[in-house]
Symmetry: D2
Subunit: 364 residues, 4 copies
Amino acid sequence: MSNTIGRLYRVTSFGESHGRCVGVVVDGCPAGHRLNLEHVQAELDRRRPGQSGVSTPRREDDRVEVLSGVFNGVTTGAPICMLIWNRDIDSTRYEEHRWTPRPGHADYTAEKRYGGHQDYRGGGRFSGRITAGYVMAGALAKQVLATTGIEVLGYTSQIGSTVAPDMSLDQVRENTEGNPVRCPDPETAREMERDILKARDEGDSVGGAVRCVVLNVPPGVGQPVFDTLEGDLAKALFGVPAVKAVEFGAGTALASMRGSESNDPYMVVGGRVETASNNMGGVLGGVSTGAPIELTVTFKPTPSVSKPQKTVDLKTLKETTIAIEGRHDPCIVPRAVPVVESVVATVILDHMMQRGYVGQVHGE
Amino acid sequence: MSNTIGRLYRVTSFGESHGRCVGVVVDGCPAGHRLNLEHVQAELDRRRPGQSGVSTPRREDDRVEVLSGVFNGVTTGAPICMLIWNRDIDSTRYEEHRWTPRPGHADYTAEKRYGGHQDYRGGGRFSGRITAGYVMAGALAKQVLATTGIEVLGYTSQIGSTVAPDMSLDQVRENTEGNPVRCPDPETAREMERDILKARDEGDSVGGAVRCVVLNVPPGVGQPVFDTLEGDLAKALFGVPAVKAVEFGAGTALASMRGSESNDPYMVVGGRVETASNNMGGVLGGVSTGAPIELTVTFKPTPSVSKPQKTVDLKTLKETTIAIEGRHDPCIVPRAVPVVESVVATVILDHMMQRGYVGQVHGE
Amino acid sequence: MSNTIGRLYRVTSFGESHGRCVGVVVDGCPAGHRLNLEHVQAELDRRRPGQSGVSTPRREDDRVEVLSGVFNGVTTGAPICMLIWNRDIDSTRYEEHRWTPRPGHADYTAEKRYGGHQDYRGGGRFSGRITAGYVMAGALAKQVLATTGIEVLGYTSQIGSTVAPDMSLDQVRENTEGNPVRCPDPETAREMERDILKARDEGDSVGGAVRCVVLNVPPGVGQPVFDTLEGDLAKALFGVPAVKAVEFGAGTALASMRGSESNDPYMVVGGRVETASNNMGGVLGGVSTGAPIELTVTFKPTPSVSKPQKTVDLKTLKETTIAIEGRHDPCIVPRAVPVVESVVATVILDHMMQRGYVGQVHGE
Amino acid sequence: MSNTIGRLYRVTSFGESHGRCVGVVVDGCPAGHRLNLEHVQAELDRRRPGQSGVSTPRREDDRVEVLSGVFNGVTTGAPICMLIWNRDIDSTRYEEHRWTPRPGHADYTAEKRYGGHQDYRGGGRFSGRITAGYVMAGALAKQVLATTGIEVLGYTSQIGSTVAPDMSLDQVRENTEGNPVRCPDPETAREMERDILKARDEGDSVGGAVRCVVLNVPPGVGQPVFDTLEGDLAKALFGVPAVKAVEFGAGTALASMRGSESNDPYMVVGGRVETASNNMGGVLGGVSTGAPIELTVTFKPTPSVSKPQKTVDLKTLKETTIAIEGRHDPCIVPRAVPVVESVVATVILDHMMQRGYVGQVHGE
């Protein structure tokens, strides 16, 4: 706890990696939205394990089931429970590591937080698998946002020390799904793939970053001073396992800039106020400027590596080593792209509803 | 709206830069805490304008007044309203810029968010001055945390391209307040000060970063999956004007690391489990590890610069230029140090209460 | 929306009368509680339709399934999803009444609230069947409360104009489940049963009231001024379909009392402060006194009656009549007893956690 | 704690009976509303002590001050802090009763809740005086609601055993303020006044009830299943000291009715769907029907009576007696009328905003 987020579009997450299922309850989705279930499934498929050599060999079909809130294919305004069942569960390895917390994982903190009662199999509640719930809620949010013209685009912007160059939105739209690392620049993508496979072959893992852009959010969305767009996006994104930094616009680079350089000048384009640059990432004072909302999310390297690592036996309080042999992604970033998009879409929809741009009944 | 944050230690902010006052209502502070009002005042003084050449010449004595919730010098459990009155208000310049939004400021987004009804004088509700309220709430939080041994230490870690070296906690404790930029390394501090004054003399401003360390948070604090320590800290920190990035531990540098390198190994020190490094910033799975919680907050350069900038006249929709002559900090970072500490203390106390380490009545 | 209630013990309800299932997600249940699933089932059985002649003939086995949050029979601290599947669904009659709202039902308000997209079959989201979710959450709450000695006892105190006499707690404990109307006084119970069957035979229905007593709540529980015990209990109870009034202690009778008569005098019993009477229902200033918390909930008559009633065809806006033939309880009150208990237990546990009497980990 | 209520129109209360002030922060009021401060003052004057022989002789001018959120007489969208200062404070009597809790008051529960640290002077945070804050927030809510045609009308419907007859809305509008007990029926009013003065002369007090009607709420407002209109109204109303029961429509009388009698038939009036009766109080399924929302609030007798009462000395745990000589209302009900209206208006506005009928910017 707490597993609910949002004020008007509220998402409650449940389920564990090796439990019966992973699911979500979405409360506050506008009534009257025709649910595109194939789209939800397609988004889940983007996140699904076993897509390529850069991800875990765990095999799950991850078929979405809708348990409530939809009638005749249309949302009713009632809470929407969606879930996927867990099938390919192999928990054997976890008993063996029960008392030796894996470095970089939440094993130790879960032990302390839940007094040893946590479901430790496969990371339990701390597994990346729970983000399947975020994706279901986010796919629905994307569908509703699309009716207002809002588009959410994510892509892999960094793997290890390989950083993607600047790219056009068209490149992002067309190329992101064309390679296993989800980097829209094909050459960079190949390099990133090499980096990941090299880490994997060395029994190691590698980190990276996801860039996300939200187009067509009108100016004036956000609820300062505490429910800022940035704050709510960041809070939700830190709910994604392995996220360690969230930046908006030029992000950390702003520390070394001058004001005359970082301030985005205003201009008039086609009778509308726009900014000539977007160092602020489309947010000023916690409120949207009308420019694309741009953010970067840093993912730490997958903590599960087969190289031996130092840890402690919690029962004997003796130091020992651990080598993790399970099925793991050598790099989580490519599969995290739809997750970041989903979380971002969820928060943006909530704020669009708070600001009155999306009502409680479709078309009202 | 929304101007309330926190679940059990709840802070509601009110007031504007050029209104009558800036204040805060703290709800949920444990009853029975002997309020050290001198400490609150000392914290406000750290944030106060006019401290040195690196900050704005606006003169305010910023004396804290307690309107409720304290009886015989002790908190009662009732909401604590604290405020400072605004005195040195010079709003003349703001009328002149009413329709030409300052680049990098929230003028334009406020106009869109509040339909032109916002108090635009001195940035109104979007002014850095409202953080005085955060400091009052945070000073109180620090006092309560101190009774559990928790200490919150902030310092300036970067100004422009000048980055502070690694420093010991003793250095931080002893040196941070010894120079106007609040960097504990004296040599770096001098360089930072030069950078700021150079920017000021050039009619410009400069950005930077604050590093914050929280000591002695026990392991097991945090409420995953959405009310993570990182998420709640980040959300609150993005409520501070000019913050554009929040990182934990090694932060963005984790993107280019290998798992074998970034994972913090466990070891046993004096019969207790500790980590040999702290790349995770004391948080795993959104829950404290027991290691110091470490975070870095990036501040963009102060948007107010006297150099001419391009903007738009919102009434005529014609492009124009603006040069901002008011009283402004050429760099907000040194004064932001107590603000970051305050926000962090506020969130940590809320989580300590959620986890039951701090009760609703002192000593209960 | 909104289908979540509670601050630390949070319950999210989902499902519809004629959808796939009715369920609940419980977030914040202390980790380490050994779940007594038979007890949950037993509570569901008390609420289940088809128990006797005084309730609807709809047949559901209502077997609880746990989808998450429990591992090796023990709560993990993760959200607990529980549900029952709907089986005996007969929606034929509902199409026929699609455009003629049943008086006293939520058909018309649902139409207005959800723009015609609501699941109208069997009352959909407004059906009493959704309270099965409340019962699952409440059964769990009762189990946790029992570890602190708290007991929640409900019974039918009124059916039509038949009012139960004052009874001892022992009578309530022993006799409530001994008759189909759940009134602990056998003679009154027989009279109540006659009243219900008479109404049924006349194609009509009848209202009533449930009295609920909570024993052993320590003094000092409650969060004034807005999260009072009374306020939170009332809010949750009005989430039960057909509830139209909530009273504490002597309730509406207090309007005609004198202060010298209504004030509960303090006395010392066995070294402890107690009250000589309990007109206040165990709550003063929104905070528990240590006396039993006593409340009365009024249920309106079941709106579904086979007698013809006046209504309107929403498509033609012409007046018409409706006679409801479906399977309905002539009196909902006996089946509402476990529902009221569950809702009360849920709120009391939430407040016990807020006050620190129940922690986030069992036994911590 | 917790002293905040509401989701989009959020009210935070602070202050104590004998502290410096009583105040409120309103967060979420639509920007662009021209504040009618005279109206706020007029509402405060209705609640003010010392209006007649039926209320306390405490003398306060209760002049509202606005500290934030209003600029050029118009709301800005920023939080609005309003307060009144306490002046006529006479705390002498309270020291003397420090350890002998007054029966029917919150003295004992406050002691237990706040560990003895509460401000006990004049009831402190539990005093009826804090409702001045509710009235300020409610007056503002009434003003905003008035722009949508919604009207909130309260009156005294019962004092002791004297119950007001049915009255027309015109009677209520014209006569309520015409007598000191605020009962629109002049003859009943005189009888009620006699009842109160008789109780006062006998050193006693008397209870009563306030009836409140809300006109012109459109159908379809309310957020089931937990944020029902009834639930949110009840929760807020139980935040008013001395409230012990809340009923909607026919209320507790529904327990003894038949469904054929209680169901409000639908009919068509002027092309609109209406109900022929209003036993449901304008709410079905937690959602407004379009009929007037009608509710009744029971107030217990003022607990302060000069007759000797039994209590306990908390220090010695010896039984003793107490006679309360201070300045108290022999009946709180007449002064509670504007308080009930205010609380109701606050909740209704919050729900009108949630449903999108009132936006975040006036006229948007």
